[in-house]
Amino acid sequence: MRKFFKAFISIVIALNVIELCDAAPIRLESMPQLKSSQARLISGGRLFAQHCMQCHSLQYFTHDPIGDASGVVPDRMPKIDPEAWSGHPPPDLSLITRYRGTDWLYTYFYSYYQDASRPTGSNHLLTANTSMPNPFEQLQGTHQLMISKDQLSVLEKQPASQKPPWYRILKTMHAGSIPAAEFDTQLTELVLFLEYVGEPHRAAREALGGWVIMFLLIFFVVAFLLYREYWKMLD
């Protein structure tokens, strides 16, 4: 029995370690541990409304207090016509954090670098040759690739653990209009907002979970005492 459990647990752990074998040259950066709050979500929502909502919709996100307060409401979202985007429409972002994860999204906005060969003037480490320009170039400033493109493709083939973080291969060219630390906070709030959009009832879920588990624990203790009471008769 113990043997079996050990095997089972080791498998679960092994499966956990697997990362999506993306052909990215960098490893994902962990999002800063900012405590989510109503104010942070609203400010992240405002950033989304200003910088993302011209092109991206959140089609499953309907009216709610956070959305209303930050201006992310269904009527203001773009109606996306795939024809107009020559078959590559900007994706809907309702579930982006559930699909890609928050770390990916956080790292995404640190992965832009200047590249004159691209029509947008910039390129991207996680999604090479993306047609989306950096929406935060003003706030964030611009970055430059410090290694050659050949070295980049070498990095892509390395195992995930040996890939460098973005800041090892990118350096700042022009500073943004706000301090880097402030931009980092704003970006984190944006990711928190999109995480909220991905699952608006998450906070309710976790709050309810505590009560349910507490109740079950009490019930378990009572059931255990009852079990002992009956089984005593068999001794």
Partner: protein, 206 residues
């Protein structure tokens, strides 16, 4: 049954009884708790509730005698501007009405008056006959139905007649007056249907 068994049983009977009772209570609580989300899930969803939010209407464009139908929570609602003569007629006591003082709760308290409305000229009614839910017709002009017709609403399904405040006449198939939905005036001419002036919007969103 061994002697030990008998002893144990005798000693612990009270304790076991107590535990059994406690476990049964917890069992009932858990079943109730489990049922709760299933019951809640059957209530209107957030989308339905959002679609059923209060609606706004500008009544300044409404001409005297005009009837406008708007939809609220899937039901047709009439908004009608009554003429001064019609209002004057409503204010006179009328013995032919079933419930002339609107005693039955077919309207919010603020519409329990002779014109059954906040503003005497603007009438807001749910367009459903209280008999079987048909939509009555609006016949404001006297003598259009028959020679005694004073003007009001007529349900062509089973012939119920109502006055211009939606009050039912005696001896009609319809048992009660037409229903007045909750509403208030946000400003002089902006009518909000679906919510009382005092209720919070969050109740509707919730």
């Amino acid at each position: 049954m061994s002697i030990k068994e008998v002893q144990n049983t005798a000693v612990d009977l009270k304790r076991r009884e107590f535990l059994l009772r406690l476990a049964s209570i917890l069992g009932v609580v858990s079943v109730a708790g489990l049922l709760w989300p299933f019951i809640r899930a059957l209530f209107p969803s957030a989308v339905t509730r959002a679609a059923g939010r209060p609606i706004e209407l500008d009544v300044s464009t409404l001409t005297v005698g005009e009837q406008r139908t708007v939809m609220w929570r899937g039901k047709p609602i009439w908004v009608i501007r009554r003429s001064d003569s019609a209002i004057a007629k409503l204010l006179e006591p009328n013995q032919q009405l079933e419930d002339p003082e609107s005693k039955l709760p077919q309207q919010p308290p603020y519409a329990q008056n002779a014109t059954r409305s906040l503003r005497p000229d603007i009438l807001v009614l749910v367009a459903a006959c209280t008999h079987l839910g048909c939509v009555p017709t609006y016949r404001p002009d006297p003598h259009t139905l028959d020679q005694y017709w004073p003007g009001g609403f007529f349900c062509s399904c089973h012939g119920s007649k109502f006055d211009l405040a939606g009050r039912v006449y005696q001896g009609m198939p319809a048992p009660t007056n037409l229903e007045v939905p909750p509403y208030y005036f946000k400003d002089l001419n902006t009518l909000v249907i679906g919510v009382h002036a005092s209720s919070r919007v969050s109740e509707v969103n919730g």
